[in-house]
Symmetry: C2
Subunit: 434 residues, 2 copies
């Protein structure tokens, strides 16, 4: 007979898999995220004070303060943060998620994901692309100009297209992308391609997309569309070019969709299922279905991976970001067997990708009914991490991740694999035993 | 020491892999294909007379005659064809290729692929989508309306976008798509997604794309874009919707690009490399690098595969189409290990996809330097079929294919796998021995 805990875990994982996240709209964080306010900055991972923040998170906060015109430069921004002129809270406390530093400031545009099965909304910001970007702790003029363009050109066009088209079913996109070489976390070429083709016609038909927006400087898109050199194209063309130039275009909407799934599994009495994993660049934290809002934290590890030219492992910050929400619901590192080409980005051999997925069946309670892997005979991905199994078997969840430079202001330096600290799971198990 | 033949084969396969096909333009067949004329219809496969044509090829010829206004109905068209009022020739004789029936009529729009390495152009028509389409032998009003829309709305928009953007590098798209679950022949979800995102911005910026073309009836796109119900959208939005609704959007450009590669390997003295494989629905034919324009033909086999609801294996026509040009240059069935999800479309188990690729290394002379398969540790695809090896080892090239109904007027009934007849290779080897 199934134990009370096993029954609870089955209920939780079924709810997780039944969640039906649809990207329906875009709004300003302070207008649409309940509880969001003018002087509140959200960040990735468990709660943390300014003093304990790592370089990349501090860098993103500095950039956010300048972007919000609460500071003129890095010095002013650091002083403002140290003086407590802005409050900090985890994205997760507001049903939001953000990759890497995960900083969401009040006036930023956010994706709104509606769970069509269980109701409610989850949120994430727009993805800025690779390299020197706010979420990796960079904050120079180029970074801030790009953020401005995202909020003033990109977001309004995509919002109008979403309303016109009736939204994008993100779960279907993830399912297809796992048949197209993506893991849904580090490799998002397929999700992004499917996202673009799903919304392209609607983007063409937006009113805002027809405009040529001369008053907002645009990021340099001439390497993507050389014909942009001649004249400023319509906003719709710029938006589609930016999407094409950024294989992570779909990532943030996928993360918010995964948050929707994880949320559906949260709050089930007796369940030992992990419903949050997140890192702030200093600590790794988890939350569990039956233990409410309590975080179980421990120092985050440093990822192991491949570095961009000019960077090395001693440049790496500790593990950072909410993107591990993907592994929490059975994709990302758990679906690596779907994405053997990912090793050219994170290192290792394709065989290791298959082993990673195989191992994750040991610590999960279900095979996903939505997401499966052709090369494993269409077996469902390992889904729903059981805290008990992690501790008993001594097997930690495998996480695919980007790597941020440890200093503020620099950005992404590589990508790789990382494990959470076992202490989080041991502490959670102790709490569950109480 | 390498034999004269082996040296010639290496030269041929290197030329094949160095070919750099870029989709640069679109034109009317009679205006751009050298030698094309008003009363000439091109078709797939080796040469064939009207009398010996199979049902789907006859159906496509009938449709082509009505489309060209050379006949008012099927009866008139059959009489015209039987009376010799139109000439027939293989697409391959004009450096063109067409999927399935492969009928290219004088006024149809064709993709123009330029080989940036070796010079020269290759051609293919626009892809019509799935099911009831001319290339599968259907010719009712819906089929003809769609062809009209392709020539009058779709082609002009895509042409303008190609000229604006400077063209699309198809080889890069194929290489990426093999890391995204495509084989490049039967499964083209990734190539099509990459094609769409590469050209979307340029489509937005075309002048023709901004028009609402009310005088050409459009295919029903409301299942793809429900918001089209309200009003007729801009041509650019229709074009992007049609592309999104058809995972074979990129196929014909890929085929013409493969033709470019095969052409580069043709005409090398002493080479035993296969440079053409093609079927007209009655005969399978091959041509070899060092034996000029001579075809070696034998009756085509019937494919083995999965059938759409309501159809069965006795409905299947013999193997048909020029799309086997993909296998000729090392993708399609030869790259099946890249596309394990394809088995849900053609039948069998994912393991068989890996075996298919492994076996093809036995009959080929190179591992492709452009196209590789992540799950096989990024090994290059088996490329360059050596007639000698096929005959000596008794191993035939594996071909992924669509299945046409044997009667004219019906269309696609399934998809599967097929083998060429061994006689073609034996006859070629005899000729080579002379």
């Amino acid at each position: 007979m199934m134990s009370k805990i096993d029954q609870a875990n089955q209920e939780a994982v079924q709810r997780m898999m039944q969640s039906r996240p649809v990207l329906v709209d875009i709004g300003r964080a302070k207008d649409v995220i309940p509880g969001m306010k003018e002087n509140l900055f959200l960040h990735a991972g468990p709660p943390i004070t300014w003093e304990r923040m790592s370089g990349p998170l501090k860098g993103a906060i500095i950039g956010g303060l300048i972007y919000e015109r609460m500071a003129k430069n890095a010095g002013e921004a650091e002083a403002a943060a140290a003086a407590g002129r802005v409050e900090f809270a985890p994205c997760h406390h507001y049903n939001a998620v953000g990759p890497m530093a995960g900083v969401i400031t009040p006036s930023q545009a956010v994706f709104m994901i509606e769970d069509k099965q269980w109701g409610g909304f989850t949120y994430s910001n727009m993805n800025e692309g690779y390299g020197k970007v706010l979420r990796y702790g960079a904050y120079d003029d180029e970074v801030l100009r790009r953020l401005r363009w995202l909020d003033e050109v990109y977001a309004p066009v995509v919002k109008e297209a979403l309303l016109l088209s009736g939204g994008i079913d993100i779960k279907t996109i993830i399912a297809q992308a796992l048949h197209m070489g993506d893991d849904g976390h580090n490799r998002n070429r397929a999700t992004t391609s499917l996202f673009i083709r799903a919304i392209a016609s609607a983007i063409v038909e937006t009113e805002y997309g027809k405009k040529r927006v001369y008053d907002t400087p645009r990021p340099d898109l001439t390497n993507i569309c050389p014909f942009f050199k001649e004249t400023r194209p319509a906003a719709a063309a710029e938006v589609l070019a930016f999407m094409h130039g950024n294989d992570l275009t779909a990532l943030n909407a996928i993360m918010a969709s995964c948050k929707s799934m994880a949320l559906a599994a949260h709050g089930i009495e007796h369940s030992t299922l992990v419903t949050t994993m997140a890192r702030n660049g200093t600590d790794f934290g988890i939350r569990v279905s039956s233990t409410g809002e309590k975080w179980f934290t421990a120092p985050a590890n440093v990822p192991d991976g491949l570095y961009f030219s000019g960077f090395k492992s001693s440049d790496a910050n500790r593990d950072i970001g909410d993107s591990v929400i993907t592994e929490t619901v059975g994709i990302g590192g758990f679906a690596m067997a779907a994405a053997p080409a990912i090793v050219s980005f994170i290192g290792g051999k394709p065989a290791a990708a298959f082993e990673a997925t195989q191992e994750m069946y040991e610590i999960t309670v279900a095979e996903n009914t939505n997401f499966n892997i052709p090369a494993l005979d269409f077996r469902g991905t390992p889904t729903g991490i059981d805290v008990r199994k992690v501790v008993e078997k001594g097997i930690l969840p495998r996480i695919n991740t980007g790597i941020a430079h440890r200093e503020p202001g620099i950005g992404q330096v590589g990508a790789g694999i990382v494990l959470p600290p076992m202490e989080c799971f041991i502490e959670a198990l102790k709490e569950l035993a109480r």
